[in-house]
Structure formats: structure tokens, C-alpha cells
């Protein structure tokens, strides 16, 4: 089913889909098709990434998940686990540095690809985010850190929940100044 997203993207090239001038039930149908195609595509990318990151072929390759609602700080995997990895793939043919923002419930330390700790910023999610995500989750905080990605490649960062001690000191808690 690896070409299913391509088929549905093809359907969505109709001029009404591009401009948003379709009827609501047609819009819902486009959304459903794209969602199905995207789910298939995510599975495929997860398989590929799992094979690429695997260092030892005798153990099963890991499964990767994608969080569709990261823009509203919703990601069950990062909220419900004390330890997880973040893999960022860069599709551009030059090095890219960007900031990753993940929803969390407490403080985490992030270890970069070189094994060194990465500077992070832990802050409360905005009121706008709390309002917009409604029943999709309740992570009260988000963790920000910078990632540097190679051209057409990926890097894996490791997150571990830290509870005081050395790991907690690596973090810089953000300062909030409420003016009004």
C-alpha cells in the first residue's frame, strides 16, 4: 500500500480541493482519504527508519510513531514515557538547525547524538494551546531544544525523565514574567 498516499494526493489535485471550494461532505471525504494515506505512509517511514537506526541485526528493529498534533503540544508517547527517543529527519541537501518542541509532564534531560547533554528549556504551554487542544491531552509543559541535522539525513536524541540531581541541573528553567 505504499503508493496509497500518492493516489489520494492525486485525488486532492482537483481544483475544488486545492482552493477549498468543495462542499463540506466532499471536504470530509478528502480529509478521510488523506488520513488513510498518511497512516500507510507513516508505517512505511517507520519501517525504513527502524532499519536505518538498527546497529545490531539480531534484535528486532524499533517502531517509530509520529505525533500529528505536535502543533498543539499533544503526543501520547512523550507524555506517558520516562524514556524515549526523538528522531529528526532532514529532507534538505544542506545542514539544518532547528528547534524541537515536545509536550511533557515533567523535566527531561536530552542527550544528543554525540552523547553530550543538550541545553533544554522547560515551560508551561500557553493558554491558547490549552484551549485549542480540548480533549486531546493534558501535557502541562513543553520541552524545547535545538537540533542540528545533517544533509538528507537524521539524528536521534534521547530523552530521560530527570528527578533532581545532576540531570536536573542541566536544565534551565525558563523565567515567566506576567506583566498584566
Amino acid at each position: 500500500n505504499s503508493n496509497i498516499l500518492r493516489k489520494f494526493m492525486g485525488v486532492a489535485q482537483h481544483h475544488d480541493a486545492v482552493s477549498g471550494t468543495e462542499k463540506q461532505n466532499v471536504s470530509d471525504d478528502y480529509a478521510e482519504r488523506l488520513s488513510i494515506g498518511r497512516a500507510e505512509c507513516k508505517e512505511l517511514v517507520s519501517d525504513v527508519l527502524g532499519k536505518l537506526v538498527q546497529k545490531n541485526s539480531s534484535v528486532p528493529s524499533p517502531q517509530f510513531v509520529f505525533c500529528d498534533y505536535l502543533n498543539i503540544s499533544v503526543c501520547p508517547l512523550t507524555v506517558n514515557n520516562k524514556q524515549f527517543t526523538i528522531t529528526a529527519y532532514n529532507p534538505i541537501a544542506r545542514q539544518v538547525t532547528t528547534v524541537v518542541r515536545i509536550p511533557v509532564t515533567s523535566n527531561y534531560s536530552i542527550t544528543g547524538p554525540s552523547g553530550k547533554p543538550v541545553t533544554t528549556q522547560l515551560q508551561d504551554v500557553s493558554e491558547g494551546t490549552k484551549q485549542v487542544r480540548r480533549n486531546r491531552g493534558s501535557a502541562p509543559k513543553e520541552l524545547l531544544f535545538q537540533v542540528t541535522l545533517p544533509p538528507l539525513g537524521f539524528q536521534t536524541y534521547i530523552a530521560e525523565a530527570s528527578q533532581g540531581g545532576v540531570k536536573a541541573r542541566r536544565h534551565s528553567q525558563s523565567q515567566t514574567e506576567a506583566f498584566k
Binding site: 471550494t21 463540506q24 498543539i72 529527519y89 535545538q146
Partner: protein, 283 residues
């Protein structure tokens, strides 16, 4: 009531101490500043008038009144500032259904404006078309620029067409153009470029100003074929909430093209994130 300034290596943004609105923007490399008032406004969707029965809808943007209403409540947007080692952000609340976060990241040239809009209230039975607008003191001489499918940047001149004599019957929507990835205004020295995360429409209705439509909810069918108003009610039945981002560059004119071309590529092909519970042995 003191003004608040946030900055990184490239930009400095100042917010008005009493209103909390963006007040000025400085390019730290050239040390050039511009006053900027950024706020949100709404146009009333036309349901037809004596001049024409044309309604505003999915195909047609036709405001009833040519001056948009400010969504700033007139007192304060309740500015909250968060400073950290990775990013500095300010949070603004314009209406119960309209908020914005403005971020400056370390070593990134742009300011990120993340707006969350909706559900657009329609209890008053009035369709609304929401815009964000940047009003600067750049001397733009009726000229602004938008891109065509992210490729060629086209010059637009207010109330003017290059190919025919323009009879302006719709003062606002007649000056609206598609923005697929970026729009900018410029004078001889400085340029303000707004990169979008999706295709939108926009214009410059007065010199130094750039407006972009970010959300619409209309109550009439525009009779162009769709047969229904543009009034999606969404999962919860009360209307859609949209969240999107504008990436704003303020640079000298000679640096502007390189800045928006590189950023445009990064936005179009953004890194994809995936997560796993697996933690490798070599960790």
C-alpha cells in the same frame, strides 16, 4: 507600563507597555528600526447590497465595509514574556477565541508569529473574515510583492494592473492577491518579509502595511457553484479553530532575498519528527 523588549542575535522586538502590542522591530546587523503595529482585524462578510447581490463565500471575498474592525480590545493583550536559553516568547490574548505567541529563537533570523483563531463567533449572524496586519513606517509607494506558487515573486501595485485599465469596484478584495509562501514590503533600505505556512490571501491597503487573511466564516452561499456557506462547524459543532505561523524577516534589502529563499526552503521541507520508546544500547 514600561515597554518590553525581546531580542536574539538578529532581531529586537519592542512591545508597548500599556497595550502589549508589537511596537517596533530592529534589525541588529544594520541597526535599522521600523515602527510596527501588529494586530488582528475582521472584515464583515457581505450578504449582498444595493450595488450587487454578490455574497462573500467560498469563492468570493467581498467585505461589506472596506475598513476592518480591530480585534484588539482597546486596553491590553495581557502580555506574558517567557525567557529561556533556547527561545524567548511573548504571549498575547486578543479575544477569548484569538491568541498569539511571538517567538525569537537563538541564532535564527526570523520572528515567529503563531496565531490561534477560532471558533469565529457568529451568534450575531454576521460572517467574519479575520486578518493579521503589520503597519510599518516603510515608504512603500503603493507597492508590495507576493509569490506565485512559491516561485516567481510578482510586484503588485495598489489599484493598478499592468495589463489593462483597472476599474476598482471592490476597493479591498480587488487588491487581494494569493500568497503561497511569502509576501513582502520594502523601501530603498529595509524589507519586511512575511513567510506563510500555507497558501493565504493578502494585500497592502496602505503604504507600509501588509495584511494576510488567516481565517473566514461566512453565512451566505456566494452562488458560484459550491451551494453552501463557508461555515465549517468542526468536530465540536461550534466552528473550526485554526493555528498557523508567520515567519517574519526584517533585513536590509541586499540581505533579504538570501534570507527568505533559505528560510522558504526550510519551511517547505521541514524536518520530520518521529518518536520511539526504544532507547539504543549505544546510548
Amino acid at each position: 507600563n514600561a515597554d518590553t523588549t525581546i531580542e536574539n542575535q538578529f532581531l529586537s522586538l519592542t512591545f508597548d507597555g500599556s497595550t502589549g502590542l508589537l511596537k517596533s522591530m530592529t534589525d541588529k546587523k544594520s541597526q535599522k528600526s521600523t515602527s510596527v503595529r501588529q494586530s488582528f482585524y475582521w472584515y464583515t462578510s457581505s450578504m449582498g447590497d444595493l450595488k450587487s447581490s454578490q455574497k462573500s463565500g467560498a469563492y468570493i471575498f467581498r467585505p461589506l465595509i472596506q475598513t476592518p474592525t480591530d480585534l484588539f480590545n482597546g486596553t491590553s493583550v495581557g502580555l506574558t514574556v517567557i525567557k529561556g536559553p533556547v527561545a524567548t516568547e511573548v504571549r498575547q490574548q486578543f479575544q477569548p477565541w484569538l491568541s498569539q505567541v511571538i517567538r525569537l529563537y537563538n541564532n535564527r533570523e526570523f520572528a515567529e508569529f503563531e496565531w490561534t483563531v477560532g471558533p469565529i463567533p457568529i451568534k450575531d449572524r454576521v460572517g467574519k473574515e479575520i486578518i493579521t496586519r503589520f503597519d510599518t513606517d516603510l515608504q512603500t509607494n503603493s507597492t508590495f510583492y507576493t509569490d506565485a506558487n512559491g516561485r516567481q515573486i510578482l510586484q503588485r501595485i495598489r489599484d493598478h494592473r499592468f495589463d489593462w485599465q483597472y476599474n476598482n469596484t471592490e476597493p479591498v478584495s480587488g487588491n487581494y492577491y494569493p500568497i503561497n509562501s511569502r509576501a513582502f514590503i520594502t523601501d530603498d533600505k529595509m524589507q519586511m518579509t512575511v513567510m506563510t505556512d500555507r497558501s493565504q490571501g493578502g494585500s497592502s491597503m496602505k503604504d507600509g502595511s501588509l495584511e494576510i487573511m488567516i481565517h473566514r466564516r461566512t453565512l451566505g452561499d456566494d452562488h458560484r457553484g459550491v451551494g453552501e456557506p463557508l461555515n465549517e462547524t468542526g468536530q465540536f459543532g461550534d466552528g473550526l479553530i485554526v493555528r498557523g505561523q508567520h515567519f517574519v524577516l526584517f533585513t536590509s534589502v541586499d540581505k533579504a532575498a538570501a534570507a527568505h529563499r533559505l528560510l522558504g526552503e526550510e519551511l517547505y521541507m521541514a524536518p520530520s519528527l518521529s518518536f520511539s520508546q526504544w532507547v539504543p544500547d549505544w546510548a
